[in-house]
Symmetry: C2
Subunit: 450 residues, 2 copies
């Protein structure tokens, strides 16, 4: 993969107070403390469809397939960007960088994911971005600093692998708080990128939400290996109100033992062909019918995996399905679907309860667990609709896995950056710039994952 990537063009260093698009801004102490960065012109930004270099038509038919993560074209941005950003999580490392178009007409934000386990692949990739295709070996930190070249890093790996990245790339690493980056990234996607945020339903798997300026307060549910739930009251006002240890890592771990799947995509593919009723105990299995008096339908899942223990030796695998490698007589397709449902439903329920406790109407789901997978989004959406009786709304993002990486990328932006700000809109009394100063987020109570 690394051999085909375009080199990051680092042609000039533009200091914080440089003029851009005819506007100037005052330098600040904060800006002087750190190496320079450039302003990114996001006017006209759009998500690149695989087979189209032009903006999507607004009258285009609704997508029926799961959305892919696409690069974001910035047709008006013409200068180089002096940094790349990486969000190193427990399972996956996400990287965001800018590359100029070969024809000089703008450029694009690129998104790549690596497995954290293969940290060296990530470092190879970053090394090529920073030091060029041939790799000049460890370079002098001071030289890169003079060039304004540096790496923004967030996620736990920014701390765990700090020394390793710094030594390998020979550039300065600026670490940013994970929760702050998630918020900055999400705010950017909500407010700046058209056709990024959508609601999911079976009938309309990608109903795009209009860009909003009055986005606060909202609940961000970030599902990676584990789950974090963050109440966001403003661009610098957030609180991690909860989480769960039952996240992507749980599903991947269980299915890596219980099925032959070697990747999460294979697991999702198994789940699509499965029938969870073969392993889950439904209300109908217990009652012989529904439990109508309290509204439990016969098809309601009473107990995830509830049929497994007692049918361990008696059940047969349906034709066309594959027995689990654990020796039980259950199909790995059915197992996959059951556990995908269970993890998704559980997160959806906890998210609803947290949103209810904190009086939040809008719930955004981010993180690498979702991957645009319809069953996952359906389960999460259904849980929110069901529990809230339709009063709360689940939103998804096409770049759901990159909130933290984009947030880290943007943390090195000057103020007054962004589409509306570029257009000179008066933001007084409205949404403040989502580009927050480091360390200014208000932290309230402390809570743990699971």
């Amino acid at each position: 993969m690394a051999s085909t990537l375009p080199p990051l063009v680092v042609t000039s260093v533009i200091s914080e107070d440089a003029e851009h698009e005819g506007r100037t801004r005052k330098n600040t102490f904060e800006n002087l403390e750190r190496p320079g960065s450039v302003r990114i012109d996001v006017r006209g930004a759009f998500i690149v469809d695989e087979d189209a270099g032009s903006p999507p038509r607004t009258d285009s038919p609704q997508r029926t397939s799961a959305p892919d993560t696409k690069d974001i074209r910035l047709p008006h941005h013409k200068t180089a960007v002096s940094h790349i950003a990486v969000d190193i999580g427990g399972s996956l490392a996400k990287i965001v960088y800018f590359s100029r178009d070969p024809n000089g007409e703008g450029g694009k934000l690129n998104f790549k994911t690596f497995e954290t386990e293969h940290i060296d692949d990530l470092l190879d990739f970053m090394d090529r971005l920073v030091n060029g295709e041939k790799g000049s070996g460890p370079t002098d930190l001071e030289r890169h600093a003079q060039e304004g070249l540096y790496v923004m890093a967030t996620g736990g790996g920014a701390y765990k692998f700090y020394d390793k990245i710094r030594a390998r790339l020979g550039v300065e690493i600026y670490r940013e708080d994970e929760m702050e980056c998630l918020i900055v990234g999400l705010d950017f996607f909500i407010t700046e990128i058209p056709e990024e945020v959508f609601a999911y339903s079976d009938e309309n798997p990608m109903e795009f939400a209009d860009a909003r300026t009055d986005i606060y307060p909202y609940l961000l549910v970030n599902i990676g290996s584990g789950v974090s739930m963050i109440k966001v009251s403003g661009p610098q006002d957030f609180e991690r109100i909860g989480g769960s240890s039952l996240g992507g890592g749980t599903l991947w771990g269980l299915l890596s033992l219980l099925t032959s799947a070697k990747s999460f995509d294979e697991m999702l593919s198994l789940a699509e062909r499965g029938d969870n009723a073969n392993v889950d105990m439904l209300v109908g299995d217990i009652y012989g019918s529904g439990y109508g008096r309290i509204g439990l339908k016969a098809t309601t899942i009473a107990s995830t995996f509830g049929k497994v223990f007692k049918q361990q030796k008696s059940s047969q695998v349906e034709e066309g399905k594959t027995p689990t490698p654990c020796g039980g007589h259950f199909a790995e397709e059915d197992i996959s679907r059951s556990l995908l449902y269970a993890v998704s439903n559980n997160i959806g329920q906890i998210a609803y309860l947290q949103a209810q406790n904190h009086n939040l109407e809008h719930i955004y789901f981010g993180g690498s667990f979702i991957r645009g997978h319809r069953q996952t989004m359906n389960a999460l959406s259904y849980a929110i609709r069901f529990w809230s009786k339709g009063r709360k709304q689940a939103y998804f993002l096409r770049h759901e896995g990159y909130l933290g990486a984009v947030g880290a990328f943007l943390r090195r932006q000057p103020r007054n950056w962004g589409r509306r700000n570029s257009a000179g809109e008066d933001m007084r009394g409205r949404r403040p710039s989502f580009t927050t100063e480091p360390g200014r987020g208000r932290r309230k109570s402390m809570v743990i994952s699971g």
Copy 2:
């Protein structure tokens, strides 16, 4: 097991309006509609310790081992009881019946559990109780009705196996609503049985709660194959506010595939020897340290099973532990502990959130999942303490698995039954009798399991 059981003594039929202990009560239409039952004298009732026939000393040292489910002695009850009660769940069937002491000095409530899968064992047992040790074959329903002999049944199996039980035993089966029975049973245990309800902590694994009369409102979290959460505002005022499909059935099912354990007790025994840090991803695994800024300690579980996917091929099983039969290089001890924690923590968190939403301080955990197991109670207690910052309290019961069965047993009791009522206490303005009329419970909104 069935061959050693004492026959249920059915010597007399005492009608609802019969005199007992010098008191009389007025018959009601409800009572006349159904066959007779007897009043049970619970004065001086106590839980029978295995090696003691006498009441426990009040100054006895605190128990340090997990509590067992014990029979309840009723030293003052001298007449026979004309019914038995059964609660048939998705995985387990729980039976409660009264037997007189051979020496004529009172008798006791007996508690037995069967696997629902082996319904015929349950029916054998019930048949012997109803028809005597030698079994007279299917008997005439009318004869049993005249004798006042019948079976109270609740749980899904009361519906699913209704015809089967009725045909086999030749007695009338009275079905009672599952949620109502849970409440009636719990109210009985809270208010009538000394040393039944306790709080758990590492320092004091069984701190008995004082019997209370002002018990409402409270949250009952019943953990069987699945989980039901019921808000109880009064003896006839309850609402199933939520639940989860991640319950005992999930743990038993997963561990029956992932380990060699053949019973839940074996699974719990594995869990006791395991270290979840070998399979769970801790905050320290991601950050290299804690994430102090938001209060996540290095030892906090970030992702249950989060190490499994990426270490599938690389890790080694510690000496003295057994590899999972699934081909992964993880120990079944570690797997068991991780999943026991995960299911317990998750239920604890959802219970806290529901209690918070509904402004409930007291949370009672019932159901066959708990089994007096210390790790389970510790995880549930810890979750409630942690999330509520010590403002909510988790309670457990020594007969946690028998709430529904005892509730069904008591549904055939006349009013004014019970210890305090027996003593002629004026209940006006205080707790009403917990013996509710069938079908009078107020049902509010409808919610599902998972």
